[in-house]
Subunit: 238 residues, 2 copies
């Protein structure tokens, strides 16, 4: 009985639930509500504050964000945490199970990228761009870089604003973490994520982006360009 109650509480996020043992149904109960999966996506590269999330999800209202965070916390996908002093600010952070949703998010992106209706020119959040690299990196290309490891930095928007990441391509995978780009061997900078997406995925020449979209590439330029060539969009499917 207590188990049943527990289950009902977890699923009470949006009142209605499918009565279905299928995992797909359960996942959609937790993540299928409007905005929910995008909130999880924004947390996928580390804890964020309420206002960070709001800024990364243009169009979401404070009320809806509050509701989604509550439902995801009840569902065990994320936890609220107060950063140790100094700081003391409250952040939201995925649980281990929440982080395990990355393959699900990746398959969503991989599937959508094969549609002709998908419009890649829309705005893009910094986290979206970084996650898309993990999804779209060519494994064969990664395997081929054995021995030429380098740390690639990314700064999107104002450097002080905090959207800085470091990617460390390796044959085994492509770890990406938030962090200082000071130690990186090459750094991409852009005012908006979409400018970098144009170079990685739309095939726009990097020197054109540097002239017209505010992109800058510093450090080992050859390494940066080799990195940028690792990504490939899948073929569209009728």
């Amino acid at each position: 009985m207590s188990l049943l109650k527990e289950t009902k509480d977890v699923r009470a996020g949006h009142g209605r639930w499918y009565n279905d043992a299928c995992g797909t149904a359960f996942a959609m109960e937790l993540l299928g509500e409007r905005w929910s999966l995008l909130v999880v996506r924004e947390l996928m590269l580390g804890a964020r504050r309420f206002s960070d999330l709001r800024a990364s999800l243009p169009g979401i209202s404070a009320k809806v964000l509050t509701e989604r965070l509550e439902a995801l916390e009840r569902g065990g996908v994320l936890v609220r945490r107060v950063l140790p002093p100094p700081g003391r600010v409250q952040v939201y952070e995925l649980t281990a199970w929440g982080y395990a949703a990355e393959p699900f998010i990746q398959e969503a992106g991989r599937w959508a990228a094969r549609s002709r209706a998908h419009d890649p020119t829309l705005p893009l959040s910094p986290v979206s761009l970084m996650l898309s690299m993990r999804t779209m990196v060519d494994p064969a290309g990664l395997a081929g870089i054995a021995g030429i490891t380098g740390r690639i930095g990314f700064v999107i928007g104002e450097e002080s604003a905090g959207d800085c990441f470091v990617a460390t391509p390796a044959p085994q995978g492509l770890p990406i973490v938030r962090g200082d780009v000071a130690g990186a061997d090459a750094v991409f900078r852009a005012p908006r994520a979409a400018a970098l997406a144009a170079g990685f995925y739309a095939g726009i020449a990097w020197d054109e982006l540097e002239r017209e979209a505010g992109v800058t590439i510093t450090g080992e330029r050859a390494l940066a360009l080799r990195y940028a060539a690792l990504f490939r969009l899948p073929e569209p499917l009728a």
Copy 2:
């Protein structure tokens, strides 16, 4: 301009859209609406009729099913088709791109299965059960059966009602198709899919299910039991 209009039409399924180039957002626009992904799931093993879908999705109303089918058709996920005579009935069938959503559905299930809140005792549609096999089959186990191929049949509910499938395990994968079980080497039969799920995933002994849940196993029993041992639920994650 015509391309822009096209895009807007496709996305008009439920009026609101994220303004986000991220594929995850686009996928959720098309599949994230309540019931949508479950409709796609039910079509994943072949075309179905309106009333089949309604019967497989307890709780969905005719209105909502109609709306979802319209939106999915506009989105290019499925098409309506009229079967050639005799028959002449109308069915819904996934497009090639719709079928490509299977990995997405699988990752949803794989993720949900790692939650402690997931309740596997709820009812299950026949298609859900068959798809779960493709998701949960142990690749190492499949590789180990090289040379012992056999065709495994499944009949769920009344044989005449049509929920019959044949699985052909092979080292390369586990194809599952709707079809006559007459040529199968072993056949599982059960009044409801959940009875078989109890054997595959909850570890309930098959002879107990045969005595108490209406399950029958015909043909090569040893083959059937070897097949049933190929499946493993992932570890729950905190």
